[in-house]
């Protein structure tokens, strides 16, 4: 079953002749882990931002669970659904940012409960119960009353993952979740994502951690210059790429 489907996405910014995304299509099955790799500036973040409604596509369609967030009109321009539909769609996904974006004025616990209470309408008890279970799972069971600034980067990112999971998304997007971390802290985040993959959480992960992508992803997508150059089963794309550009990119990552 398809959880998310993006079709024929086109996007350019101020310079309309510079196409950041050129007709990209991507669909994700329930339980699938997709890794997106590619050089800097290839449009990976932009694609994720289009999928999470942070950036409007110029053209293309976006559908979650059969609900259309955007459809093309007769001129091939993306037209977004009404507010109520978009709110419903936002409930389907979560996003983990490169630089966490935790709410600094809220304690760790409140970072996890506030949206549950004020967006989902859960009771305080229910929200805290869910939050504590997630914090335990992230190995942060004792940090609920701390403030984000008191935590290490790795701990902050785990809180951010827990905050997204607390909303019970059907699919979770990650944009370079370890890039803002010191190398010795990336391991703890990769471990958490690996555990989520083992539970068959549906995930799309933009990453520069090639070994991790190869190991944890079911499917790898290689993007370059705003197009998907190659995609396929993780091992096949990583170990035996068909395209010269993929090969070149991966060669630069070998040490």
């Amino acid at each position: 079953m398809k959880i998310m489907e993006l079709t024929h996405v086109k996007k350019s910014f101020a310079d309309a002749t510079l196409h950041v995304l050129k007709d990209i299509s991507l669909s994700v099955e329930k339980g699938e882990v997709v890794a997106i790799i590619g050089p800097s500036g290839s449009g990976k973040s932009t694609l994720l931002r289009c999928a999470t409604l942070l950036t409007d596509m110029d053209a293309g369609e976006l559908c979650y669970d059969g609900i259309f967030a955007a459809k093309n009109d007769e001129n091939g321009r993306a037209v977004y659904a009404d507010k109520a539909t978009l709110k419903q769609v936002r409930g389907k996904f979560g996003l983990v940012f490169q630089n966490f974006n935790l709410f600094p004025h809220y304690s760790v616990l409140k970072n996890l409960t506030d949206a549950q209470i004020h967006v989902l309408g859960r009771s305080k008890e229910e929200a805290e119960h869910r939050a504590r279970a997630l914090l335990d799972k992230m190995g942060l069971g004792d940090r609920g009353s701390a403030y984000p600034c008191e935590l290490s980067g790795g701990q902050q990112q785990r809180v951010a993952i827990a905050r997204a999971l607390a909303m019970d998304p059907e699919i979770l997007f990650f944009d370079e979740p370890t890039s803002a971390l010191d190398p010795e802290l990336t391991g703890e985040i990769l471990k958490v994502i690996r555990a989520l993959a083992d539970e068959h959480m549906t995930m799309v992960i933009v990453t520069h951690e090639m070994a991790f992508a190869r190991e944890v992803a079911d499917r790898v997508i290689f993007m370059s210059g705003g197009v998907i150059v190659e995609e396929g089963p993780a091992r096949q794309v990583m170990d035996d790429p068909k395209e010269e550009r993929t090969r070149q990119f991966l060669r630069n990552y070998q040490r």
């Binding site: 409604l53 936002r90 630089n99 600094p104 989902l120 403030y147 984000p148 600034c149």
Partner: protein, 215 residues
Amino acid sequence: MTLLTMIVKLAEGLGKTCAIFFLTLLFSLPLGMVVALLRMSKNRIVSGVTRFIISILRGTPLMLQLLAVTYGPYYLFGAGVARNKLIPVVVAFAINYAAYFAEIYRGGIESIPVGQYEAAEVLGYTRLQTFVRIILPQVIKRILPSITNEVVTLVKDTSMAFTVSYQEMFTIGKQIANSQTSFTPFLVAGVFYYVFNGVVDFAMGRIEKRLNYYQ
């Protein structure tokens, strides 16, 4: 006139000084937020007009604005000058301070990283919830030192109400000084202002400390 009578008279004026002070804050702090939001409006005309009004309020003397609000209606429409001068005085102060607060609010709001809005949006907060629950608390913490500066200035600025002869402390001090040909009432008033600001400083310091639970 004994020093004690002088102090009693000035203390009466201090009551009116406090009235200007608290009423000005009561109206200008929220009004400033409205002005800040208009100033940041996506509508070019709205933001442009607001910007122009702010520049006038900040670019002309408060004394002139006091005179304009108090006597303007008389010169323009032949309307009577308000009996109770507290009303025009507070109106002039509230509008003037709202302009300053608006610029402080705007700077604070614009200093919040865009990632905070994006995180809130993805979590499904409405725009109003995002502003009230996520942005505003962080803004208040950031701008508090600038607000304190303005509030301290306001304590001293209340003395400008003498231009329209509103009987606050400075106006009374000036009257006593004239009739007694003495500088003492000004010294006493100076001490009062100084103590007043000491209290303001202390109170604002307490609030800043309370917001220091995160950095």
